[in-house]
Symmetry: C2
Subunit: 341 residues, 2 copies
DNA sequence: TACGTTGATGTTTGCGCAAACATTCAACGT
DNA sequence: ACGTTGAATGTTTGCGCAAACATCAACGTA
């Protein structure tokens, strides 16, 4: 592969002049610049990223971290974010690095990726509350940001969607339809996001004077299967809920399957809501009433924040985006004479 | 960050001894080795990947390339493959690099990633037939492999699923159920995979003496929307097909929605089949009869093949995996007195 | 005793790039 | 005519690592 030296020779200049041209430094006569540029073209020269990195210029790689395969497969949102992020990053010459950090190894040491000079920055998706590796990153002052997370113990930049607003909007909608006995299926309760949505569900319930009843709350893990199970479990309770709030679409999709298997009608017998507005949400029957997470804006915000962290000039920031309520066909009015408070 | 030098100083040896320990070279007294190892631990030393790369040792990065955002979002299979691949690669110390190459830029020059020393090898997913960038990679002798692709013009290693077997199995199943008028909705016909499935559909039809009728063939693009449209279009034809073969699950899912909107029963009025067996296939109602692509084995094969290409010791290979037919609820017997041949 | 042999360790060198510093040369003012 | 200035370009150096080569002590053997 051609190096700066080769280009320099061909253009009859020193390689330093080549370097200046490549990096758009001023102080090169335009005639010389032209000569260098044609040499570059003729030799198909591309600067060697490894040498640049070694020279202290960073890797121009941003790592996106996930804990294990299953995590990704059960979170369509994650992938879409990767792609969205990649598209924003590549505009600024960055590349996306995908890395899993397995719990099995025990280490979970994300700082390694920095020390090995594999990435300049990291994006951590939905870490568990008080995650150790996140703490360590913060302690070492490494540039990273968190999506779908939040911490009281550590300071970092993060992007999230307003769960408060999202869940309360859903609850008010169901209240307006006359529902009072409303069940809830949570995501993986190790994650802040799941905790927040769950807490908000409970708060809204109490705000209208309906007591929280743990018999119609099911702890899921975001998966289709857990949605299926959750629906089965809650509908089996007596008195059964007339509506169930699911913490993501995927679980709500599982619920639709369960309803079919059980011969329960949605929304005739039970209303359900999802969260995320994934692609399938509007293609399933009945189309899912759900809370849209503005994925494109999340991707944009993530790119902006991580780039900000990189040049270190700014403080930690948080960006809270607003979800958008999508009313479709999975909710109906509560049956007259619904269950008493 | 600690360098080999720092470790060497602390262990009171030359940095070359450190290098030997780090790379597990023989010829270091075990006593010295121990001393070096503790110094490494104490200083939290990690070898600098950039320096190694500069030194001619490669990047240990494998790039996964996609053309644009929409491509990924409409191919759940792609993502799952990324994750699956990452898990196999990381066992051997490799990392996954995600890169889009946009058509807009016009360049489409994947060799850049090599020249810039960003990756050691590339995985190309479902390129269009005779894709220019693939040709260039091959011409330059760069290590890459293709998934869901195949070329007569260029030689390269690739992994694919036996479309021949898959489609013919589906067709025979439908024939056995008494279907004779069978429609087809293709994927993006620029891709080899879509072409193959389509060709096989036609061949099977003719093999049993049923003529190919282009009025019940719809050209889709793998997306939910195109499946929806395809179903609408085909069911509207007279005489309507009693079964429709979709080239992937996603489009079949779109069809289920369309059937509902049209008041057509699946499988009562029309039988449908998918392809891929994505997660949702078994959770939709009716559960989709489909052809499972053994994703885990694809991931494994991709990892193996690309690693083989890297050390250059082997010839180009191709791995054709067998799909597995999953019979579920989306097909039924053809109505008695079905449409004449 | 002198000398090769072997195992353990150290030194030199260069991978490609760019900051920091050095040099050259033409244009200008006095 | 001559020093001064500044724009344009060149040279040195080091980033961290490891191959290739060099050294050196300890040992066995003739």
């Amino acid at each position: 592969m051609a190096s700066q030296q080769d280009v320099a020779k061909r253009a009859r200049v020193s390689f330093m002049t080549v370097s200046r041209v490549v990096n758009n430094h001023p102080g090169v006569k335009s005639e010389t610049r032209e000569r260098v540029l044609s040499a570059i073209r003729e030799l198909a020269y591309y600067p060697n990223a490894a040498a640049r990195t070694l020279n202290g210029r960073g890797t121009r790689n941003i790592g996106m971290i996930f804990p294990h395969k299953e995590f990704v497969l059960s979170r369509p949102f994650f992938i879409e974010l990767c792609v969205e992020l990649e598209s924003h990053l590549s505009d600024t010459g960055y590349h996306l690095f995908l890395g899993s950090v397995r719990k099995e190894t025990g280490s979970l040491d994300l700082t390694v990726l920095f020390k090995e000079r594999k990435v300049d920055g990291l994006v951590i998706f939905a870490p568990e509350r008080d995650d150790e590796s996140v703490k360590r990153l913060a302690a070492e002052g490494l540039p990273f940001i968190v999506v779908h997370g939040r911490s009281d113990a550590v300071e970092y930049s993060y992007v999230d969607i307003d769960n408060e607003r999202g869940v309360s909007r859903i609850m008010r909608y169901l209240f307006d339809l006359g529902h009072r006995r409303i069940g809830f299926v949570s995501g993986n309760m190790e994650e802040v996001n799941a905790q927040d949505r769950s807490a908000c569900y409970r708060r809204e319930l109490e705000a209208v004077g309906v007591g929280f009843d743990e018999r119609i709350v099911h702890t899921g893990d975001w998966s289709l299967e857990s949605g299926y199970e959750g629906f089965r479990a809650l509908v089996g309770r007596a008195p059964a809920p007339s509506a169930i709030v699911f913490s993501n679409d995927q679980m709500a999709l599982g619920a639709i399957k369960a309803a079919h298997d059980l011969g329960v009608s949605i929304p005739g017998d039970v209303s359900i809501t999802g969260y995320d507005d994934i692609k399938y949400a509007s293609f399933v029957v009945p189309a899912l009433t759900t809370m849209r997470q503005p994925l494109d804006r999340v991707g944009e915000a993530v790119a902006t924040l991580i780039l900000e962290r990189l040049d270190g000039r700014s403080e930690c920031r948080r960006v809270i985006l607003e979800p958008e309520f999508k009313i479709r066909d999975s909710c109906g009015p509560a049956r007259a004479g619904g269950s008493p408070p």
